[in-house]
């Protein structure tokens, strides 16, 4: 009965959504003439290489034009890890006999992970340093770094993240993101403004503050995701 009702509901919803989206032709150019600045996308495509000197337009949008969104997004991750810690809070005694989820790892596996770990972390750092030139950036690079730590955490029982150090990195990265924003305010411009607009398009040092912000975001995302995984992996399994 409930199933039939739900299926009818979904059918109606699907019909309306399909009808709406079939009116929006796929692949049509909705940006309009790029140089006319009529739509937001056109403005971004037209002005990004000249004004911000950033090759990757998505990076320019995420970090600069819509920088407040990114700040909010980092905050959401921060609050998620804070909330997670409060939801899964355990007393000290429980923590001690908690058993971490670990793979039944063989020597080959562990050696492989040990070789891979620096490579993965390096890849992640490469991705977020080159966020303004190539696809990728702080979020992607940070996630890749967190994946590296995840591999270490599940294959080495003795490997522990230094909680104290993680708190330091997390706080400092967050503070420097906001600090860059406040710098804009203090220097008489607006919050998060990209002040030093130096550099040549497509060189590593270009785009002013954009790569710096993305590196900071990379560190923060990496630490936060590692923290989330660390909390989740250390839950005491049920008997």
């Amino acid at each position: 009965m409930k199933k039939a009702f739900v299926i009818i509901l979904l059918a109606v919803l699907g019909f309306f959504l399909t009808k709406t989206f079939m009116d929006i032709p796929f692949g049509e150019n909705r940006i309009g003439e790029v140089s006319s600045n009529e739509t937001a996308a056109g403005y971004y495509l037209n002005n990004t290489p000249a004004k911000t000197k950033v090759a990757n337009v998505v990076t320019a949008i995420v970090v600069n034009y819509r920088g407040l969104d990114t700040l909010g997004e980092v905050t959401v991750l921060f609050l998620a890890s804070t909330g997670l810690a409060s939801i899964l809070y355990r007393r000290k005694r429980e923590e001690e006999d908690a058993e971490r989820l670990s793979l039944p790892s063989s020597r080959i596996m562990r050696t492989g992970v040990r070789v891979l770990f620096p490579a993965i972390v390096l890849l992640g750092i490469y991705v977020f340093i080159h966020g303004h030139l190539t696809p990728g950036g702080g979020f992607q690079g940070g996630t890749i770094v967190a994946t590296g730590f995840l591999l270490m955490l599940i294959s080495y029982k003795g490997f522990n993240t230094d909680h104290n150090r993680m708190v330091w990195i997390e706080s400092l990265a967050g503070l420097s993101f906001v600090g860059i924003g406040i710098w804009g305010l203090i220097s008489g411009n607006t919050f998060l403004e990209n002040i030093p607009e130096t550099g040549i398009l497509n060189s590593l040092i270009s785009g002013g503050l954009i790569p710096i912000i993305y590196i900071v975001v990379g560190f923060k995302v990496a630490v936060e995701l590692t923290g989330i995984l660390d909390i989740l992996l250390n839950i005491k399994p049920k008997k």
């Binding site: 696809p135 990728g136 995840l150 995984l229 839950i235």
Partner: protein
């Protein structure tokens, strides 16, 4: 032409993986299904000229979402209906 063939194959695989992960009773396999959805979705994004999104989906969807689901299943029950004896759900 390749564009269309790839697109259709991915579309079919996506829906199939989604249905698989919704219907499979063993939650571990269901989670693998969502992982496959993420893999194909990431390729789909690449096909639609969105490499940034593809990279994000690959990193978040395939690796992290899957692992947190697996951790949850380890701490709860592996069987959707919880009929199988709870001792047997070791991963």
């Amino acid at each position: 032409m390749i564009f269309i063939i790839l697109l259709i194959i991915m579309a079919v695989l996506l829906i199939a993986a989604a249905i698989y992960s919704i219907t499979h009773r063993d939650l571990l396999f269901a989670v693998m299904g969502t992982g496959i959805v993420s893999v194909i979705l990431s390729m789909f994004f690449f096909l639609l000229q969105a490499p940034d999104v593809a990279l994000t989906e690959a990193a978040i969807g395939i690796a992290l979402t899957t692992i947190i689901f697996i951790i949850t299943i380890r701490n709860t029950s592996r069987d959707e209906d919880e009929i199988i004896d709870k001792e047997d759900k070791k991963i």
